[in-house]
Amino acid sequence: MLKILRERFRQGYRTFPYLKKDPVIAERFRGRPQLPIEPCALDCHACRDACPYGAVQIDQGRVGIDLGLCTFCGDCATACPSGTLTFSRDHRLATRKRDDLLVGPAELQLAAALDERMKKLFGRSLKLRQVSAGGCNACEADINVLGTLVFDLGRYGIQFVASPRHADGLLVTGPVTENMKSALLDTYAAVPEPKLVIASGACAIGGGPFRGSPEVNNGIGDLLPVDLYIPGCPPHPWTTLDGLLRLLGRLERR
């Protein structure tokens, strides 16, 4: 017992005061892309050619990236000869609408809060059931991290539960494999109304690295109505937390 107490004392208090302080993220982390503000030379499409998923779009020299298809590999930035396409360390990326994931040089339209009725229902207590529908399990790993004491998701009233019947919504990862499609739909059906769907990670939004395989559905697509999109491969735990808190209207003035 004494040993346990001594170790507890040594390990110290590690929960991060998220809303009060900005999180510390690795210097080389690739977050929200910073796109060229001025139009690029019309004959340059090095970034578009570099992207394996067609996430980079160029219109009249204006570059946009579809964060729903992007795995944040950084190849487009490496390819950019003028160095005007870069990735910032901004971890805030979640949106409410699929179209909002298509970013240009302007500010990203971050997720707005749920409407008043839903916010009243879920704002202080949100129970989610996670469903892995393919993917590589790194998304799950970095969602599990939210339960550790650094992130301590529980303090915001958000919790992952074992049964869809106890849940207010689903958090889906993976490109939705053929073999998980019906289990995903069944799980959704088992969640009582009203319910939310969160698409977490490049896979769930657009198929991620597995996009185009005949064994996957290229993400949730039209299978379920999605309320929150969290880009990343996998999304950084802070990105997920930020998205969830925005959805619940807990970050409105930030």
Partner: protein, 505 residues
């Protein structure tokens, strides 16, 4: 049998023109596989590849103490006599071949689908014609008797984990048999890798099993380097190995935390949960991604660890090391913890060997399987003598292997950070050799990751075979559950901590 030297002898990372690999008569092939296996050989891969209307069957047998890999090849049409009755280690490989190409291993004692996907060729080995196929739809082994009951779990489980289906045959609380049916995470990876390799190829290999990104990425990069005869600069080799050991640390520490959670020992559970993240963050310090995405590239690595960064990482590692040691000491010094782990979920060494278990699970049963030791590559060559073995084959042994490997990996990373050799970071590989076969092994944190690639006339991949350690080890978990209490399943499962997606591909 003619003494025409049937087997091509390779080493980890070798490639060979396909024309030089003798196509044996079927009988000679199977005799040779059995002989190689009997001579202290270990089958690491058995797979098919289309050859016109027929199929090439390739077997790779490792002779660990010689550090060699024997490659054998034959041609089959649509069936062959199953090897499984004599060589149980190939049981899943034969089922996989049947599912992928409709080639039937006649006399296979446990002939069932593996991942529930459509055959890549014309025929379905089970004559299934539903549209779509129903995952998990197969005959499960059943124990009859009035007191016997069946428990079915999954595919969707209770936690934030991947899907899979488990069937238990129980007598009261006692598990007589557990059957595992997977395939829910099947993304069709192997066919997706065929063709000319590009940036997406690497990303798909980084995501075979997301917690083993460095292991699979390294195995793939080495395939490209082998086929293009590229020499990887020493600094890149050192950074790859360093990242592989960080990957091992993050997962091993996380697993000890997971075991602590499952037995309700909360101090270690909560410390290790956080510490796992600290190791992931060290990887992110190198390349920006906690899972090591984008770090390994064919020919080398994409990111350097300069002197300042190395010093910063060393300092951080020192802090994390202290906390890790404290969290582990609490766990392994606590009698009630040990009592819970010891004797639970035992796998006998003979069974482990027969099933071909690898990695942590194999070493916990006393099997000397560690590619870093026997088939070293890159920075491990002449530099690794710390392989860890335990003997009891129980949950405790699997925890112990991890604990000891944590200590070793910490000193590896420390050492590596202060001795990074001077060299460029990457030597871009040229064209891949046409009509060749390359094989690479990498000892990931879970165990042996094996990749085999075949190229066509243009040097594009005509077949890419991935063997994730989970493919070998799930049968070990089923074995560990025999005669255990069903309530011990979570603990046994955690002690293996296998990947669903790595198996499902």
């Amino acid at each position: 049998m003619s003494r025409l030297k049937p087997a091509q002898i390779l080493r980890n990372g070798d490639s060979v023109p396909l024309a030089e690999v003798t196509i044996l008569e079927m009988d000679a092939f199977f005799t040779a596989v059995k002989q190689e296996a009997a001579a202290q050989g270990r089958v690491i891969a058995l797979f098919a590849s289309p050859a016109g209307d027929e199929f090439d069957l390739f077997a790779l047998i490792a002779h660990d103490w010689q550090g060699t890999l024997a490659l054998l090849r034959t041609r089959v049409v649509d069936r062959y006599p199953s090897l499984t009755p004599e060589l149980p280690a190939v049981h899943l490989f034969e089922r996989e071949i049947a599912e992928q190409y409709g080639v039937v291993p006649e006399g296979h004692p446990w002939f069932k689908p593996v991942r529930f996907h459509r055959s890549y060729s014309a025929g379905d080995a089970w004559g299934r014609d539903q549209q779509p196929l129903i995952p998990g739809d197969m005959d499960y082994y059943r124990v009859e008797g009035s007191d016997v009951h069946e428990v079915a779990v999954g595919p969707v489980h209770a936690g934030v984990i991947e899907p899979g289906h488990f069937r238990f045959q129980c007598h009261g609380e006692k598990v007589l048999h557990m059957e595992i049916s997977l395939g829910y995470q099947h993304r069709g990876l192997e066919p997706l890798l065929q063709g000319k390799p590009g940036p997406a190829t690497m990303q798909r290999l980084e995501t075979v099993a997301g917690d083993s990104t460095i292991a699979h990425a390294t195995a793939y990069a080495r395939i490209c380097e082998s086929l293009s005869h590229t020499a990887v600069p020493p600094r890149a080799e050192a950074i790859r190995a360093l990242a592989l050991e960080l990957e091992r640390l993050a997962n091993h520490v996380g697993d000890i935390g997971g075991l602590a959670t499952d037995i309700g020992y909360l101090p270690t559970a909560s410390y290790c949960g956080r510490l796992r993240g600290d190791y992931l963050n060290l990887t992110a310090d190198i390349c920006g991604s906690r899972f090591g995405r984008t770090l390994v590239r064919p020919g080398g690595v994409a990111y350097d660890i300069d002197k300042d960064r190395a010093e910063k990482m060393s300092k951080q590692l020192a802090l994390v090391t202290r906390d890790t040691k404290g969290a582990l000491a609490l766990f392994f010094d606590c009698p009630s913890v040990l009592a819970r782990l010891e004797g639970t979920g035992q796998v006998a060494m003979d069974d482990a060997e027969a099933l071909g278990l690898v990695g942590v699970a194999g070493r916990a049963c006393g099997l000397a399987v560690d590619a870093r030791l026997h088939h070293p590559w890159g920075a491990y060559i002449r530099n690794f003598d710390q392989a860890v073995f335990e003997e009891t084959g129980d949950v405790h042994a699997r925890a112990k292997v991890r604990q000891r490997e944590i200590v070793n990996s910490i000193s590896w990373v420390n050492q590596a950070l202060s001795t990074l050799p001077d060299s460029p970071l990457i030597e871009r590989p040229g064209r891949l050799a046409p009509e060749s076969l390359a094989v690479t092994l990498v000892e990931g944190w879970r165990g042996e990751v094996a990749h085999v690639a075949l190229t066509d006339k243009q040097g594009a991949f005509s077949r890419y075979k991935i063997v994730d350690p989970s493919f070998r080890n799930w049968s070990g978990l089923a074995m560990a559950l025999r005669d255990e209490q069903i309530s011990d399943f979570p603990l046994c499962n955690k002690s293996f901590n296998l990947s669903y997606c790595g198996f499902d591909l």
